[in-house]
Each structure stands twice: as structure tokens, then as C-alpha cells.
């Protein structure tokens, strides 16, 4: 058995030894140990190096507030976690734990030179040291600081673990499974409420785990705990351990991070590493207890200097004696019990040093009975020891005068500066705090949430008081939810109540400027730093915090905030409540990004929408691109083809034979009802009244500001029914906008909107031979120029499938769009591919679609427009029904700025060398010789190589562009300036002769 393990003590299992590695060496602990308790059982106090000065540090606490003992835990590649608190990490066989912030090794760290140069690193040193010269900041200071800064090292491999999340709804959430939380949960559950009880530790019990001497309701504390947990289980209470309430959000939503596998040697199948619960509770009971404060004196950070309460936890919960020869240094009664218990466990307590002149006589009597030396009214001014404390120097203090010192040898120094309620979650609720002068601490006051605090969190002390308070609060919560409940009285024997006093720095006989009395261990902030900040003009506690970085480390100042406040208030000469506390923010303890991401990583990162035809495109070797949430086939390369070659071939096939395109992602909205045409008249710029059923029209949608929002072809199927199409990316937005106007501006209209985007698979067929393909397949409509002219729509069958057939074109060629019920899309695609093969049918993707529409000057909303483009700017004045009394955007179009000269207007651009392809987004200037910064008059919105035009083409928005036809503009690029001529937007078949349908039997 390890040297410092106390037989018969603790809840670890001595029959189940566990070997793990620390700092490269094997260490043996027991099942149930944390890394910290196992190391302490082996006499190892040195666990890490501090962040700034690289000072040797040991565990100072036993819980999640631990600032010093940060380790990197590893479980093979990618499974490495920096900044793990050794006090929380349970050991398992094979665990690899490495200390941080030290090189080449923990016991000899080169970075410790910072410690000797500490005078340079005082408060605000970043601001002072690196002020000048300015140019040094970017080149020298910042890179060096960045390289040296940061806690731990994050892994560079991908994390192979999985993470999960769940929602949970409950009547009552109790945070903290100590006596108050257990009693609250029991009372609320007995009242018939759904209760969730969470605790961040591996087992429930809280302080009861460290106080086995107590007897509750006649049972030893641990037996009572076992029975109580069984009772809670029987009542259906969900008890979740290893679960940290990380944040308290609006209306009682609590984030809970549950750690599921970090304590296991073997990773179970189908089990995430962590799960984030988003829990909503009707009522919350915060029973998070209190945190012990360190005392502030020179050398209070040496390994072996630890909180007395932590020593108690190591002894009682883990069966570990943290030293053989402890000195207790305290201003609070509670630490005396650590002395007594350690003495009883075989240690030889060198002294109890109490800063108070007259500690309770009962305690003094007990010390005397055990033969422990007591020094009352004493201070500590220094410790010695390099990697472990070896002695402490103590002095009597009388009437403010520090007397002669005495060096007391010790192998650990157990301190207590009293206790601070853990109010972090309460503070997340924007709860107000009230200063309690007696306890020298803040206590919870009011909160806007349905939340109560129970137990030590509101300053109560001892098991009896917290049990009673928990039960009372449980009953209070039950009553507020309409349930009667009674809080049972639980007699407690062996309770340890007590009180104490509070200090700033302990009195010293040395120059305060030389004292290294740490307040914030993790950020290496000393009392001297805080006083310096005040001397240098910081008045607000928030400024003091940022100037010194006190409380800004990953522990968020759990141990340092109150000491920091007391010292700052003293330096400012103002009372603590006048100075105020800094803000606590979620998360309560550091939380992995994985827990926040949950399931949303890898292939599940976000939704990828695929059309019904997508699998056929994939089988055909399509290259895809994301468009909104959709993935769309961009082009269909044949072996050896790059994108440009494939796109050119697809365009050529479409312009000479038939191109087939999956247009299913187009947004579709069915507008139905007797007022459908009135609604369309009000929404779209175009007039709809005279559009006959069976005909289509290009529709343009504006915002009321007059700018283009969306466009698409709209077919009238019946007097009361329109088939509206929108852009792919605009579908949801347009439907929302339409619903908004319909529901809130025109609720009198009898018309309804239904999204049919996914009802239909839409296949666009374009090209001179398209009629040849479709005529044998279409029934119910005659495909002639007379019977079914351009911009017609009909309900019919295509290849035997019920279809809505549109005669439209987005390429300038004769075009159809066949809509069939979505699940039939693949069958239709295959049927058309087979029937079209002899005619030269070629599938094309979005890239060829973009090229061909640009050749015709058809805009893409969102590419050629950017939310500041009017119909006139885009050359679409013809689509605006000026005779209509109103439509969305009509008044907007008359705004002065929208009619002013010099607006950016959509034009064509042809590079003057006839070969250069412009870059989309490139800026345009009129005079290339002007000095920089040049006046930019527009930008390129679309640019493609066009075989049909025989040269690269582009569209651009240019100031006053419509009046600049034939002018030369310039596009400055990093390596040269390109000259281009402004033209119209149509580069191919300006007379639209190719839209015509060849007569049946005629050659195309």
C-alpha cells in the first residue's frame, strides 16, 4: 500500500489497485482515486508549474475549483485533453497524465527563470513593457508572447470521440448532491414532482463524503447516504453524477455537461464521451455549497500548501494523509478538525496556528487533549522548500505589531481563510448579491429566475443546518408548484459547525513589496499586483481584474475573487459592497468544444439536402457544389475532362441537341384561393389579372424598399391556382415574406400558400431537339408553337407520369421544365436519358446553366444583384406593372435615391483583348492612372468563358452603366490592369429566334 494511504479510511477500493502514468512514470492508486489523490497517496505534491512564473505547484484543492494541478490527459492519438484538473480526473489503468507548463521536466523547468524576473512581470506588464516602439508589437512582442502564452497544448489530431446532446424537461432540478441538495430532492420527489439531481463529482454526497464521523437520523453518514440514494431512486429521481451544471440561462434552462467515458479504461460501444443536456426546469434548487478561501501570505503557493478542507477530503474520501507533519494555519474553526482527524490518522501535527487571538475554547481543549501545540493570534510570513514546503515562519501579532518569528518544520501546510458560498450559477441568472458583514462575503439576494438557494450556498454551516434548509427549500419549491410537502426533521450527531474571521494579506514583518503572496494561483496574481493596480489608478473592480488578470484564468477566480475583492477594497479604502464583484459567466468549469458541438460534426455538421435525382448524378460521376443547404451537380466530367472542358461540352450539347438539368431545388409555392390573383398582383411587380390559365410569366419580387428580392417563372394553373417558382436559395425566405404580408397586412384575402418545393422533381430540358424527345412521351397537350407556345404550362402526363409541364427557358434555347411527383423524378430522368440518347441528350450541371443564362443576360438574384439593385438597375423595367395601384416595392421605387442618376446598373463587359476572363467580384475604375485609393465605380458580378459568344463574357454593376455603352473601363488586378468595353447584357441570339419550337416532323 502506498506510503500515505490510511488503512480503513476513504471510499477507494484498496483491493483494486490501478496503475497509471504521471510525468512518464508509473503511479499506483486505487479504484476510486483521482489523479491528485493517487499522487498524494504516493507523497507526490508537485503536480504542475504555474502559468506566468513557472513556479512549482501542487494541488491546493480537492474539487473543480483547483487552480494549480492542471494536467494533460491522454488516451492515444487525438484523445488528449489539456488543462484537466487532476483533482477531478479519475484514474484508470493506462491513463497517461502529463504535467503542463514545464520544459524539459516538471522538477527542472527552464521557464522558471520568469520567477526570478518577477519584478518585471507585475500587474499590467504587457501594457507597460511592450508599448514602444509601435512597429515592434507586430514583429516581435506579439509573436513571442503568443508562443509563450496559453495553458497546455491542444491536440492536433482529429478527435475520434463522439459527443451527444439531449433536451430534458423536469419539474425540479437540484444542483449539487450534498446534504442540502439530497434533502431538497427527497422532499420535492416525495411531493410527487419529477426531480433531477446533478453533481459534478463521481459520486453523490458532497461534504458527507468528507465527514464520515457524523450520524444522521441515527445512521452513520455514509449509511444514511446509501439509504437516501436508494430512496431517491425508488422515487424516480434521476441522479446524474459526473455532471456539471455549466450555465444558467433564461427561464430556467440549465446546461449540463455529463462526462460519460473519461473515467473508463475501456470505451464502451455507442457511448459518447460527453453529453450536453439542455434542461428546462419549472424550479431550480442551487445547492452548490461553499468554497474554502486560501490565506494570503508570502509563499502560500508552495507544493504542500493546501486548503484544510481539501486535506479533510483526501483523508476521508480517498484515505490519503496529505502529510506526516502538518501545520494548520487558519482563521476559521473548520481547519481545527483537519488537525484532529489527521492526528487521529497517524500524522503528527506540528502546530495549529490560528490568526485569531481567542479561538473557541472547546477546540483548544480538544487540541490539548491530543497534545497538539496551538499558537493563537499568530501570523505566517514565509514558507521554505523548493519543490515541497519544508517549513513555515510564524509570528505572534499583538496590537497590530508582528513579533519575533519562529520557523516550524512541516511537510504540508493546511490553510483556511474561511468559506465563500458558490454563487456562480446564481450570478448567471443576473441574481443580485448582498454583502454579509459577519461572514465577510456576498450572499445571494434576488433573482429573476424561479430559483432558490439551499444550504452553504446561502451561508449556512454544518450538516444539520444544510439538511434542514434543503428539506425546507424542497418543500417551498413543491408548494410553489401546488404540491404539499413536509420537510422531515433529521437529527444530526457529530456535526461540525463553526465560524471564523476574514483577512486581506496576513500581517507580515517584511516589506510588502517583496512578498509573493498569491491571490490567483492560476494566473500568478499576487496581493502586491492588486495594490499596484489601485495605486496606478484602477478604481473599478472590473479594471483591477483586467489589469492584473485576477480571476481571469480557467478557474474564473473560484478561489481568488473574494480575496482579490477584499484586498482591492482595502487598497481603495472603500467597503466591499461599494467596490462590487466581477461578473461570473458560463461555463462554470471549462467545457470541451465537443460537448457544445454534440452530434454536429463530420457528415452531420449540418443538413445536406439532396434531390431525388441526386443519386443518379452521383452515379454519373457528377462534381457537386453546395447551393444554400443543397448540394447540386455542378458538371458531369467525362474521363480526362476538367471543369472548363466539361462545361463547354455541356453548353455545346444543349445549344445543338438537348441538355438535361436537375432543377428540383428551385423553390415552389402553390398559391391557391379565390383571391390568388389579387395576392399575386400585390406581391409581384408584374400584372397577373390578364394572365390566362395555362400561361406563365416571369415574376419579379421586390421588398417594400424597392430592391429586388427574388424572381422566378410563375404559371397560372387555374383561376384560383398559381404555381410560383423561386430561386433555390430564396425558397424559404420568399414563403416567409409572403406569409408575413398575407397574415399581417392582408388577412382579408382568401388565399393560402403551400410549399411544394419538394413535392416536385423538376427536370429542365433545353435545346433544338427537345420537342423531338418530348412529343412521343407527352400526353394531354400538343407540343406545337401554336398549341403550347413559349411561356405555357399544362397538367399532362410525361412518360406516363402525372406532370406539370412548363415551356420556359433559362438558356435561350427551346426549353421545357417537367415537374413530376418527387419520388418519380429518378424514373423520369432515366427514361428521358434513354429516349434522348439517340438525339444527343447530355446532362448538364449548374456551371453550364450559369454560362448559358449569362450568355442570354438572364440575371441570378443574389449573384448579379446584392439587395441594393432595382428593376431599372437590372434592366427589368419591362417586368414592372406601372399601371397597378400598388405592389410590394412600388412606393419604394419612387424613393429619391432609387431614381437618382449615377446608380449602379447591370451591363455586359467584354475584355478588350478578347481572351481574358475577368474575376467575379473584381472592382471597376474609370481611370486606371488615378492615384490609389482609386474611385471604384462598380464590380464584376458574373464572368464565364463562352463558346457561343466565342470569347469570355461578363456581367457587371457599373455606375450609370446604361449610359456608358461602348465606353472602356478598367479592372485593376494585383499583377495588371485589364481594359474592358461596356456592352448590353445579351451575348447570344439577341432576337430570341432559338426559343421557337420546330414544327412536328420538321428538322431541328
Amino acid at each position: 500500500m502506498s506510503r500515505f494511504r490510511v488503512p480503513g479510511r476513504g471510499r477507494v477500493n484498496p483491493d483494486r489497485p490501478v496503475t497509471f502514468r504521471f510525468d512518464g512514470r508509473p503511479v499506483q492508486g486505487c479504484e476510486g482515486d483521482t489523479v491528485a489523490s493517487a499522487l498524494l497517496a504516493n507523497g507526490i505534491h508537485l503536480m504542475g508549474r504555474s502559468f506566468k512564473y513557472h513556479r512549482p505547484r501542487g494541488a491546493v484543492a480537492a474539487g473543480s475549483e483547483e487552480p494549480n494541478a492542471l494536467i494533460n490527459t491522454r488516451r492515444g492519438p487525438g484523445r488528449a485533453e489539456p488543462n484537466t484538473r487532476a483533482t477531478m480526473q479519475e484514474i484508470w489503468p493506462g491513463l497517461e497524465a502529463r504535467p503542463q507548463n514545464c520544459w524539459p521536466r516538471l522538477s527542472f523547468d527552464l521557464g522558471a527563470v520568469n520567477d526570478r524576473a518577477y519584478m518585471l512581470f507585475s500587474a499590467g506588464f504587457y501594457y507597460k513593457t511592450f508599448m514602444w516602439p509601435r512597429s515592434f508589437w507586430d514583429k516581435l512582442y506579439e509573436p513571442v508572447i503568443r508562443a509563450a502564452a496559453g495553458l497546455g497544448v491542444s491536440p492536433s489530431e482529429e478527435d475520434p470521440d463522439t459527443y451527444a446532446s439531449r433536451y430534458l424537461h423536469t419539474d425540479v432540478l437540484v444542483v449539487g448532491a450534498g446534504p442540502a441538495g439530497l434533502a431538497a430532492a427527497r422532499t420535492a420527489a416525495e411531493a410527487g414532482l419529477r426531480v433531477v439531481l446533478v453533481d459534478e463529482h463521481a459520486e453523490a454526497g458532497g461534504t458527507l463524503l468528507s465527514e464520515p464521523q457524523a450520524r444522521i437520523a441515527g445512521l452513520p453518514a455514509w449509511d444514511w447516504l446509501t439509504a437516501e440514494l436508494a430512496a431517491l431512486k425508488a422515487l424516480g429521481v434521476r441522479v446524474m453524477t459526473r455532471t456539471t451544471a455549466i450555465g444558467y440561462y433564461h427561464q430556467n434552462m440549465i446546461g449540463l455537461c455529463q462526462r460519460l467515458t473519461d473515467h473508463l479504461a475501456e470505451l464502451p460501444a455507442d457511448t459518447p464521451r460527453e453529453r450536453m443536456w439542455r434542461l428546462r426546469a419549472a424550479r431550480v434548487v442551487l445547492a452548490q455549497g461553499a468554497l474554502e478561501k486560501p490565506l494570503v501570505f508570502d509563499g502560500n503557493d508552495r507544493p504542500g500548501v493546501m486548503l484544510a478542507g481539501a486535506a479533510q477530503t483526501y483523508l476521508h474520501r480517498f484515505g490519503v494523509r496529505v502529510g506526516d507533519r502538518p501545520v494548520i494555519l487558519t482563521s476559521h474553526d473548520s481547519a481545527w478538525h483537519a488537525a484532529f482527524d489527521l492526528q487521529d490518522a497517524g500524522a503528527k501535527v506540528a502546530a495549529i496556528v490560528d490568526t485569531r487571538a481567542a479561538p473557541p475554547a472547546a477546540l483548544a481543549g480538544e487540541a490539548q487533549a491530543r497534545g497538539i501545540r496551538v499558537l493563537a493570534g499568530f501570523t505566517a510570513t514565509a514558507t521554505s522548500g523548493r519543490l515541497r514546503v519544508r517549513s513555515v515562519r510564524v509570528h505572534p501579532v499583538s496590537a497590530g505589531t508582528v513579533g519575533a518569528g519562529e520557523e516550524i518544520a512541516c511537510d504540508c501546510l493546511l490553510m483556511s481563510g474561511g468559506w465563500t458560498p458558490s454563487l456562480h450559477l446564481f450570478s448567471h441568472t443576473k441574481g443580485s448579491l448582498a454583502w454579509d458583514e459577519d461572514r465577510t462575503t456576498f450572499l445571494p439576494a434576488d433573482t429573476p429566475e424561479d430559483c432558490v438557494i439551499a444550504g452553504a450556498g446561502r451561508g449556512l454551516w454544518g450538516i444539520a443546518a444544510t439538511l434542514a434548509d434543503g428539506a425546507e427549500k424542497g418543500a417551498e419549491v413543491a408548494a410553489s408548484l401546488g404540491r404539499g410537502a413536509s420537510a422531515p426533521a433529521l437529527p444530526v450527531e457529530g456535526d461540525r459547525t463553526g465560524s471564523g474571521t476574514s483577512h486581506t494579506e496576513l500581517a507580515t514583518d517584511r516589506s510588502p513589496s517583496r512578498a509573493r503572496a498569491f491571490v490567483d494561483f492560476q494566473n500568478d496574481v499576487t496581493a502586491k499586483d492588486l495594490r499596484l493596480a489601485v495605486r496606478e489608478g484602477m478604481r473599478s473592480i472590473e479594471h483591477v481584474k483586467r489589469y492584473t488578470t485576477n480571476g481571469m484564468a480557467t478557474d474564473q477566480g473560484k478561489m481568488s475573487n473574494i480575496n482579490g475583492l477584499n484586498i482591492a477594497a482595502d487598497a481603495l479604502g472603500r467597503a466591499q459592497p461599494k467596490v462590487g464583484l466581477t461578473t461570473f459567466r458560463p461555463p462554470y468549469t471549462p467545457t470541451s468544444f465537443g460537448a457544445f458541438a454534440g452530434y454536429h460534426r463530420g457528415g452531420h455538421f449540418e443538413v445536406t439536402r439532396r434531390t431525388a435525382i441526386d443519386p443518379l448524378a452521383e452515379a454519373a460521376g457528377a462534381v457537386f457544389e453546395p447551393v444554400g443547404q443543397w448540394r447540386r451537380a455542378r458538371y458531369f466530367p467525362r474521363p480526362g475532362e476538367d471543369m472548363d472542358t466539361a462545361v463547354a461540352r455541356e453548353c455545346r450539347a444543349t445549344r445543338t441537341a438537348i441538355g438535361m438539368f436537375d432543377a428540383s431545388t428551385l423553390g415552389k409555392i402553390e398559391v391557391v384561393g379565390p383571391d390568388a390573383v389579387e395576392f399575386m398582383n400585390r406581391m409581384y411587380t408584374n400584372p397577373w389579372t390578364k394572365l390566362q390559365p395555362g400561361r406563365c410569366r416571369y415574376g419579379l419580387l421586390l421588398g417594400d424598399d424597392g430592391f429586388i428580392r427574388d424572381d422566378g417563372v410563375i404559371g397560372r394553373l387555374a383561376h384560383d391556382r398559381f404555381h410560383v417558382t423561386t430561386t433555390t436559395g430564396g425558397a424559404a425566405r420568399v414563403l416567409n415574406m409572403m406569409e408575413d404580408y398575407l397574415q399581417t397586412e392582408w388577412p382579408e384575402l382568401d388565399v393560402w400558400l403551400t410549399s411544394t418545393t419538394e413535392q416536385w422533381s423538376t427536370i429542365a430540358l433545353n435545346g433544338p431537339r427537345v420537342a423531338e424527345l418530348l412529343r412521343p412521351l407527352v400526353e394531354g397537350v400538343t407540343l406545337t408553337e401554336e398549341a403550347f407556345p413559349h411561356m405555357s404550362v399544362a397538367e399532362c402526363t410525361v412518360a406516363g407520369m402525372p406532370a406539370r409541364l412548363f415551356r420556359v427557358s433559362f438558356t435561350g434555347e427551346t426549353g421545357f421544365e417537367v415537374n413530376v411527383p418527387a419520388p418519380m423524378g429518378p424514373a423520369l430522368w432515366q427514361r428521358l436519358a434513354e429516349a434522348g440518347a439517340p438525339l444527343g441528350l447530355t446532362p448538364y450541371g449548374t456551371e453550364a446553366m450559369h454560362v448559358m443564362r449569362a450568355e442570354k443576360g438572364y440575371i441570378i438574384v443574389g449573384q448579379d444583384t446584392d439587395g441594393t439593385v432595382t428593376p431599372a438597375d437590372a434592366g427589368l423595367t419591362w417586368a414592372v406593372g406601372k399601371a397597378k395601384p400598388d405592389f410590394v416595392g412600388k412606393r419604394g421605387l419612387a424613393r429619391p435615391d432609387l431614381t437618382a442618376p449615377g446608380r449602379r446598373q447591370l451591363v455586359g463587359l467584354l475584355t478588350e483583348d478578347g481572351t481574358t476572363l475577368l474575376e467575379e467580384g473584381a472592382q471597376i475604375v474609370l481611370d486606371p492612372a488615378q492615384p490609389v485609393p482609386m474611385k471604384m465605380v462598380g464590380h464584376v458580378t458574373s464572368a464565364y468563358r463562352s463558346e457561343a459568344a466565342g470569347r469570355p463574357i461578363a456581367l457587371a454593376l457599373v455606375e450609370g452603366g446604361h449610359g456608358r455603352m461602348g465606353e472602356t473601363v478598367h479592372i485593376p488586378m494585383p499583377d495588371r490592369t485589364i481594359a474592358a468595353t461596356i456592352t448590353g447584357c445579351v451575348f447570344h441570339d439577341p432576337e430570341n429566334t432559338r426559343l421557337k419550337l420546330a414544327a412536328p416532323g420538321g428538322d431541328a
Binding site: R166, Y167, D270, T608, T754, T756, E758, S761
Partner: protein, 185 residues
């Protein structure tokens, strides 16, 4: 883990829950308000339910309606019943203004059943599953996607999903089936 949604049948199964793809059915989005509702009820052979979230069926059981909004119902029917439903609605125009749109092709339905089916929903549904009583239904959110949920029994749900979102949601539900079972073990 993306289940194959090409044919109806089981997709994932564990001791905790089973996920399967339902046989396709006919679906109708029906919109109407005020005085038009009663004639529609008569024409469809069921009483269109009044409270959002409640359901009603025809006597023959071949059509079921769920109220989704103040003027909105979704109807599930056997494919054979659909033409009759559409015709019955069409016959009421224009005297009784309404909108009936065939959305059979828009969606598919996943079936979640098993002892922990309700918990399976909590992987992605922010609202409390207990707030939807057996025999009711709601449009709600699952993993950021709008779905319509029908609670058939304590331990059985149907979830209507637009086709393009279904693989994403089915993948999470399948993950959940395994995760919940591992938790039980």
C-alpha cells in the same frame, strides 16, 4: 450512419427503440377558415379537428386529419382515397374558399417505436414529448428541421419529414437508437 431510405422497412433497431420507414401514403395540405370548415368536414367525411394538435379520422379509417394551425390541416390517406378527397374539395369551390394541395410527394414518414421512443426524440426536439398526448400530433422541430410528429401511443411516434431532410434526421435517430440501448445496457 445514414440509413438507406430507398424502401419502406426497418432502418435501425435496438433494445431501446426501433426506427423504420413507413409505406408511402397520400398527403394533403388543407387550408380553410370560418364558414368553409364545416362543408369541408362534410365533404371529407370527418370532422376537421378544432384544437391545434388534435386529430380526427373518417369512419372507414382511410383518412386522418391533424390540425397544424388556425387554418391548416394535414391529411394522411390511402393512395386510393386521394382522388376522392381532392374531388370532394374541388366541388366546394368557389363558394367555400379553401386550398387543397397534394403534397404526397413532398414527405416521407419515419416510425419511432419502442420503450424509449419518447427519449429518442429528446436528442433533437426542444419541446417536451410529454406535451404531446397519445392520439395527438404537432408540427415542431427536430435537429433544426421542421417536422410533423404524430404520437400514436406512449411508445410510438410517426415523424413526417420533407424528403431532402430525411437522411440527416434518420442518421441522428439511428445514432440515438444505439446510444440509448448502450445506456440501458
Amino acid at each position: 450512419m445514414t440509413p438507406d431510405l430507398s424502401a419502406p422497412g426497418p432502418l435501425a433497431e435496438s433494445a431501446a427503440a426501433k426506427l423504420s420507414l413507413a409505406v408511402p401514403c397520400a398527403r394533403l395540405s388543407l387550408r380553410a377558415r370560418g364558414a368553409a370548415v364545416a362543408p369541408l368536414s362534410a365533404a371529407l367525411g370527418l370532422t376537421l379537428p378544432e384544437r391545434i394538435g388534435t386529430r380526427a379520422s373518417t369512419a372507414a379509417g382511410d383518412t386522418e386529419a391533424l390540425r397544424l394551425g388556425p387554418d391548416e390541416w394535414v391529411l394522411h390517406a390511402t393512395p386510393a382515397a386521394l382522388p376522392g378527397l381532392l374531388a370532394a374539395c374541388a366541388a366546394l369551390s368557389p363558394e367555400h374558399p379553401h386550398s387543397a394541395v397534394d403534397i404526397s410527394g413532398r414527405e416521407l414518414t419515419l416510425v419511432l417505436e419502442g420503450p424509449r421512443a419518447a427519449e429518442l426524440l429528446t436528442l433533437g426536439m426542444p419541446r417536451d414529448p410529454d406535451s404531446i398526448a397519445p392520439g395527438e400530433g404537432r408540427r415542431t422541430l427536430f435537429d433544426g428541421v421542421s417536422v410533423v410528429l404524430w404520437r400514436e401511443a406512449d411508445t410510438r411516434f410517426r415523424m413526417d419529414i420533407w424528403h431532402s431532410f430525411a437522411p440527416h434526421l434518420a442518421s441522428l435517430l439511428a445514432t440515438g437508437c444505439a446510444e440509448l440501448a448502450a445506456e440501458t445496457a
